[in-house]
Symmetry: none
Subunit: 209 residues, 2 copies
Amino acid sequence: MPRPRTQLLSRDIILDAALELIGKHHDFTILGIGKHLGVNPSSLYHHLSGGKDEIVNSLRERFYRNIDLAALRDPRVPWQSRIESWVRSYRAAVAQYPAAIPILIGRIVDDRPTLAIYEAIAALLAEARVPLGSQVGVIAMLDSVVFGSAIDAGSPVPLWDPTADTQPRLHAAIAASDDSARVAAGLTFGIQAAIMLVQSLAEEPTAER
Amino acid sequence: MPRPRTQLLSRDIILDAALELIGKHHDFTILGIGKHLGVNPSSLYHHLSGGKDEIVNSLRERFYRNIDLAALRDPRVPWQSRIESWVRSYRAAVAQYPAAIPILIGRIVDDRPTLAIYEAIAALLAEARVPLGSQVGVIAMLDSVVFGSAIDAGSPVPLWDPTADTQPRLHAAIAASDDSARVAAGLTFGIQAAIMLVQSLAEEPTAER
DNA sequence: ACCTGAACACCGTTCAAGT
DNA sequence: ACCTGAACACCGTTCAAGT
């Protein structure tokens, strides 16, 4: 019997379900959402006429909306912590849907929210006294940390097949650490490395008093 | 009529077709390969028993086969230059097919050539006195530089829309540098940053004489 | 307006059957 | 050994029909 008295679906309900499935299986399907919500898959099209692509796009909008650039502009906070905040918030936004990364980076950046993100980091680098001619290169490096780490977040755990046991050094390293923390550690090191790089590029030594 | 006199399929023929489809549509399907080769899709399973996963793995093997790891193991070369060689050769291999990156990354690594790459870098890090418990994290950071930069190589030029002129800091940075050299500069800075990071993690200062 | 159910064109994979 | 063709369990999407 169609049309129950109380509404079963909405844009937000669908997006929430998609996010839940992504969290569980690193991916989602239209049929999966339908099943999860106890609804016929075709019903989704009454709320998202653009189909699966629209779901992906709406999710991305949701992610970028939460980036708080104001905090990154606060001149009272040292630029080191602001670089860290910039990388972490940008990466967190991107990593929520690793499958969308090729779509994100394959296109020219022309939307305001994204340009605002890069304007913020350019201002930050200027403040850290990175020479103007090196700023674009540093931004590309930061980009690679952000997207590389976000992509890494979509990798399987374990990343390396543990049954292939002819790699003594690699296995020693894996045994000594936590593979589930691999991605987080990689991001932290990437940020550390980026900060050291910026420091080394600074035209004048930062003031110490 | 089955079984033509001359063989229609082989491992290499299938892999070539997959690469061609990836180049064209950023992805490939079993059915697509079958159609492209004028063959029934089920026939592929006589040559690649592992199905689609085996195709992905074989592609990865092909990319990495040409990496010369011997040079990276030469103990006479300082580890700094060997890290640089490792990143550059690995990235060069990956960047041959940027479109394949998301496909390659989503799967567990269990082929010998790829594992050999990571074994080499693990040995290098041990030699540079990076604590065992930090090595996996550093490897993840290097991974992000490699894949982030490779992905960046597939980005449009210019990356940022020049007509959106409300971003003064970003535009100043772009004007002061060469956008066409953006990716190369990003990789160089990434390597510099990685070397500084490894240096800072070393358990004992490296010998200076 | 909101949801169903049938339908369509895909997808990966298995397997008995033909040569 | 190599390929076909039918079959199965999926996938995204469309659309007429019911309330």
